[in-house]
């Protein structure tokens, strides 16, 4: 673990350089390999050739989306783990992916919407609706928002939306074909405008998370201690939940549901930077971006020349990691 603030700051700079390198590799490597020089000229002085077009309209958006979505999912995961005080929590626990999926399927089935732009808004709204339902259910009752109630309510709502989605897909095969691509989760084939639509929300949430970090540290000490120190815990919890919705909802709107980044990365970040959220959150952002970029580059090579959805690659990395965390949690108790 990096001990001093100086070491942590240097680590952050190192990770930032790694992120830029990963973005660069994501632009250069793939089915149509370009080289460094071509990629640069494509970005500065595009001559409209096939190779240049691939770089500017396919690879660059893909790299930017992977970085932004990876960063957002990882930060959302860290906030979620703090909020539920559960190291295996992910944004999915708020029913965000399930809610987005359900709304997408409803819109495709009943309103035949197929524009990516429209669907991304639908996904965002679905994610927010599911999270709002979870929040209202878990805030009811005398103790207010306890970690256990949030986890239970979230799991129940996620299961409900997921089964409704499956039921509708089972009855409507045409819709299945259209949304299956979306439901797998991918950063490929998305236009830059799609990212531009949600980017203001993501960027605002990144900033908000950094401002909230100090208060999240206090919340981690337990509700009674936090209240004793003069924190209005319900305000902090609501703010953190809103940030999770913006980050994870924005991500699912652009890339569909991509699992495991939100669970894995906060653990890697804690191993590097410790438990202070003022460091943990920026580490999560950079590591999350790097991991999703790496997974997306890997996705191009697993079944070359075909591509697998990046959500499958993250799951392939994530499942063993999940088991590792669960086992370590048991042995330390």
């Amino acid at each position: 673990m990096l001990a001093t603030n100086r070491q942590k700051a240097l680590g952050l700079i190192g990770l930032f350089i790694l992120l830029l390198t990963a973005m660069w590799m994501s632009i250069v490597y793939g089915y149509t390999d370009t080289n460094w020089r071509q990629a640069i000229t494509a970005l500065i002085d595009n001559n409209g050739s096939n190779a240049h077009l691939v770089v500017a309209t396919v690879r660059l958006p893909r790299a930017l989306i992977a970085a932004a979505v990876g960063a957002s999912l990882a930060m959302a995961g860290a906030l979620m783990q703090a909020l539920t005080r559960n190291p295996l929590a992910s944004p999915g626990i708020f029913g965000i992916n399930a809610g987005a999926g359900f709304f997408i399927v409803v819109m495709v089935t009943f309103f035949s919407i197929s524009s990516m732009q429209m669907l991304s808004w639908v996904a965002f709204i679905g994610a927010a609706m599911a999270a709002a339902i979870v929040f209202v259910i878990s805030a009811a009752g005398k103790e207010g928002l306890t970690p256990l109630k949030m986890t239970l309510a979230g799991t129940a709502v996620a299961a409900l939306f997921a089964s409704l989605t499956q039921g509708m897909l089972a009855m409507n095969e045409k819709a299945l074909e259209e949304v299956l691509f979306w439901l797998a989760g991918s950063v490929a084939g998305r236009k830059l405008e799609l990212l531009a639509t949600v980017f203001p929300y993501l960027a605002a949430a990144w900033l908000g998370a950094m401002l909230l970090a100090r208060h999240v540290n206090i919340l981690m000490m337990g509700d009674d201690v936090a209240k004793g120190l003069g924190q209005r815990t319900n305000v902090i919890k609501a703010a953190a939940a809103l940030l999770v919705v913006l980050l994870a909802g924005g991500s699912v709107a652009v890339a569909g549901p991509i699992g495991f980044i939100g669970i894995m990365v906060p653990h890697m970040a804690r191993a590097l930077a410790g438990i202070d959220h003022r460091w943990l959150l920026p580490y999560c952002a950079l590591l999350g971006g790097i991991l999703l970029l790496a997974a997306d580059i890997g996705a191009r090579y697993v079944l070359m020349p075909r591509e697998v959805p990046v959500g499958i690659v993250t799951a392939l990395i994530g499942v063993p990691f999940f088991v590792y965390i669960a086992r370590r949690g048991i042995t330390t108790k």
Binding site: M221, V225, K227, G228, L229, Q231, I275
Partner: protein, 270 residues
């Protein structure tokens, strides 16, 4: 002078009434100990005094003003609470924990000042933890861990400190160690200490003011020497006992009846 006051205080969890129209005055600059049987509501009362629990009726007053109507951050600069067996996040160091005690003094603009730094150093020194500052809290012994949490409340620099069973899970030597520390804080710095204790004899030894809770209200309060009697112990704890005096301090000492060894011997079981 009173530090804290409860007026007509009524506390409930849902439908279950815990404390019913209780009146209580916590004297300033003294050690007050709340005693009572398990489930009598003494911890609930302490939580309400620290504004962690909203009363269903009546009010808690701090310096004569209703606690619920003041900004919680301002309260945190005058009153600290250490809940029962708090848990620090895995890997948090003693220094990080104690620094959290300065939270009520921080704002968006003023994040960390020299005054904060001094308060943290004082709190570490007072609890004898300066050497252990960089150690993770979860690597410490039970007694040291409790000291670290007390250091956090000290860093808050409040006149009043409330503690819910600060000696639970500690062996006898560490119980004395923690209580001595709190007593010293009271003697040297005139801090008002209010705590819930289970051990009646230690309560008598350390309390200036003893409050016995029974039947959802205060059964008796005052100096231990005046308050403790066979009848009180019988009424509050449903237990027969003899009262004698602590040979070291002269404070009341309660020797409980029960089935000891000689009873078994009489029955020929030994």
């Amino acid at each position: 002078m009173e530090a804290l006051q409860a007026k007509e205080l009524t506390l409930a969890y849902g439908e279950a009434l815990i404390i019913d129209r209780l009146h209580l005055t916590i004297p300033k600059g003294k050690v007050t100990v709340l005693i009572g049987a398990n489930g009598c509501g003494k911890s609930t009362l302490l939580r309400a005094l620290a504004r962690l629990l909203k009363p269903t009726g009546g009010a808690v007053l701090l310096d004569g003003k209703e606690i619920a109507k003041q900004p919680t951050k301002e309260i945190a600069r005058r009153l600290a609470i250490l809940p029962q067996s708090p848990t620090a996040p895995e890997g948090l160091t003693v220094l990080q924990l104690v620094k959290q005690g300065r939270y009520p003094y921080q704002t968006w603009l003023k994040q960390w000042s020299e005054e904060d730094e001094r308060a943290v150093a004082r709190a570490l020194a007072a609890t004898g933890l300066t050497e252990l500052a960089e150690r993770p809290v979860d690597s410490l012994s039970g007694g040291q861990r409790q000291r670290a949490w007390i250091a956090m409340t000290l860093a808050q620099e409040t006149d009043i400190i409330l503690l819910d069973e600060p000696t639970t899970y500690l062996d006898l030597a560490h119980q004395i160690d923690i209580l001595d520390l709190l007593f010293e804080l009271n003697e040297k710095e005139q801090r008002t200490i209010v705590m819930v204790l289970h051990d009646l004899n230690l309560a008598c030894r350390y309390a200036h003011h003893l409050v016995a809770i029974r039947d959802k209200t205060v059964y008796a309060e005052g100096k231990p020497e005046h308050v403790i009697s066979r009848q009180l112990v019988k009424d509050v704890f449903q237990m027969d006992c003899q009262i004698t005096y602590d040979p070291l301090f002269g404070t009341p000492l309660c020797i409980p009846y029960g089935k000891g060894r000689h009873i078994l011997q009489k029955e020929g079981v030994s």
